[in-house]
Symmetry: C2
Subunit: 262 residues, 2 copies
C-alpha cells in the first residue's frame, strides 16, 4: 500500500500516473485542503505540516510515502527521510533525472512555488547529475491560485499573461527542457507550452509516481486496485475539483480528518 | 484594549484606520498567516479557525474583538457573538450602513471571497436597512492571491484583466456603490476604480474600525497607543508585506504563536 500526500489537489497528478502504470496498486491519498497552499509559507511551517501529513499516512500502515508536493519535496524531504521508518519518495530526484535525460542543449529551467525556488533543491540535484548544465529557475506564485480557481483553459488570457510575466526570462535563456516543479502546473501545460513552444515539459508528479513504482516494484496484476482519499476540509469541494487533475471522476471514498491529531 | 484578527494581512486596513482615528488606542492584532487564505474553505473550517483566533485574543484580555475579515464576518459572526463574553464587531453591518448612506440610485454591489458571497450576509444586511435596494454580488477569488503576490500597481495588466473578468457584470448593472467585502481589496482600489469609474468604494475594514470606536468610545488622548502583532507563521514575511496595508512600516512587536493551542 502506497501513501501519497500533497497540500491539496496537485498530488492527484501523481495518483493519475500511478493508476495508469499500476492499476492494481492500493493507494491512500491525503490532501491538506484545510491548510493549502504551502508554497508561500515559511520552511518551519511547511516541515511541521509535512510531518503531520506523513504521520497520518503512517497511521494507515502504508509501506512507502510519495511526497507529491513540490514545496514539501524541496523544503522538508531530508527531514522526512530521517524521521520516517519507511521509504519516502519526493519529486526532485526523479524530475531532475528525467530533465537531464531529455535536454539536448544542457539548459534546464525549473518553475515552482516561492518556497521551492528559494530552497534551490532542483538546481542542486540537476548539477549533481550533470555539473555542466545551466539551470534557470523562476517562482510562479500565482499559478496555484489560477489553477485552483479554474483559470485553466488554453485560451485564458489572464493565465497567459501570468505565464508571459513569469516565463519570458526562461524563453530568453533558450532552455529546451522545463521541470514543472509543482504538481498543480501540468493542468496549465497548454498555456505554458504556448509561451514556451518547443520546450519539453517534465511533470514532477508523474515522475515521482514512476520512481515510486520502480523503487517498490509494480504490483502483480490480480490485486484489487483502490484509492482511499482523505482531506482536512469539506470533501465536497475536493470531489468537485478532483476530475481536473485525475482526468475523470474520483473512484474511491473521500473522508475528512482532523490533521492536528497527528 | 481592542483585539483585531484576520486570516492574514487584510485586517491591517482596519488597524490603519483605527490608528488614524484613535492614535492612543492599545491594539492587539492576530493574522493567521499559517492558514491563510480562508475564502475558499468550508463554513465549518472557517468557524473552527475563527474560534481559535478569537480565543487567542481573549487570552490577551482584550475588551472587544474586531473581526477584520470579510470571510469570517459573513460566515461565523453569529457563532462568535453567541460564544464570546465581549463585544464582537464584524465588517458586514458597518459596511452595509455606509453603502446604504452612500448610494444615490439604490443599486449596491458587493464583492468578496467565495465563502463571503455564498453566505449572502451582505445582501441580507443591506435589504434589512433598505428593502428596495438592488444588490449585485460577485465572488472574486483571485483578488487575494493577486494582492498577496504584489500584483497591485494601478497599471498591472494581469490584475486589470482579472478585475474586468469579475466586475463587468457590476458595471452593466449600473450600481453606483461597491462594498469591498474583503479587507485585502482596498489595496487594489485603483485598478477596481479603473474598471468601475464613478462608483463609490466602501472599505469594509475601515468601516469596521470606525464602528468599533463608535461602540467602544474613542480613548481619551493621553493613552500610550501601541499595536502588538501576532502571526501563526514566520513574522519575516508578515513584516515585509505589512507596509502595503498600513501605508508605512510596522511600529510594534511581531511574534509567532501556535494557534492550535487555542
Amino acid at each position: 500500500m502506497i501513501g501519497i500526500f500533497d497540500s491539496g489537489l496537485g498530488g492527484l497528478t501523481a495518483v493519475k500516473e500511478m493508476i495508469k502504470l499500476s492499476p492494481d496498486e492500493e493507494l491512500i491519498y491525503f490532501g491538506d485542503t484545510g491548510r493549502v497552499p504551502y508554497g508561500n509559507r515559511s520552511s518551519a511551517t511547511i516541515t511541521k505540516y509535512a510531518c503531520q501529513d506523513a504521520a497520518f499516512l503512517l497511521s494507515k500502515k502504508v509501506d512507502a510515502i510519495v511526497v507529491a508536493c513540490g514545496t514539501v519535496s524541496t523544503t522538508s524531504l531530508s527531514h522526512l527521510k530521517k524521521t520516517l521508518p519507511i521509504p519516502v519518495i519526493g519529486v526532485v530526484e526523479p524530475s531532475a533525472e528525467a530533465a537531464v535525460k531529455a535536454t539536448k542543449n544542457g539548459r534546464i529551467a525549473v518553475i515552482g512555488t516561492a518556497a521551492t525556488i528559494r530552497s534551490g533543491a532542483f538546481e542542486r540535484e540537476i548539477k549533481k547529475l550533470s555539473p555542466d548544465s545551466e539551470v534557470i529557475t523562476q517562482a510562479c506564485p500565482l499559478f496555484v491560485p489560477l489553477v485552483e480557481n479554474g483559470f485553466v483553459q488554453e485560451d485564458c488570457e489572464i493565465t497567459r499573461l501570468a505565464a508571459e510575466h513569469y516565463l519570458s526570462k526562461i524563453r530568453e535563456s533558450g532552455a529546451d527542457t522545463l521541470i514543472l516543479g509543482c504538481t498543480h502546473y501540468p493542468i496549465i501545460a497548454g498555456v505554458i507550452s504556448k509561451v514556451l513552444p518547443n520546450v519539453t515539459l517534465i511533470s514532477s508528479g508523474a515522475e515521482a509516481a514512476k520512481k515510486a513504482l520502480e523503487v517498490l516494484g509494480k504490483k502483480e496484476s490480480g490485486g484489487c486496485g483502490s484509492v482511499s482519499y482523505y482531506v482536512s476540509d469539506d470533501p465536497t469541494m475536493f470531489v468537485s475539483n478532483a476530475s481536473l487533475f485525475l482526468g475523470g471522476e474520483i473512484n474511491g471514498t473521500v473522508e475528512k480528518i482532523n490533521i492536528n491529531e497527528y
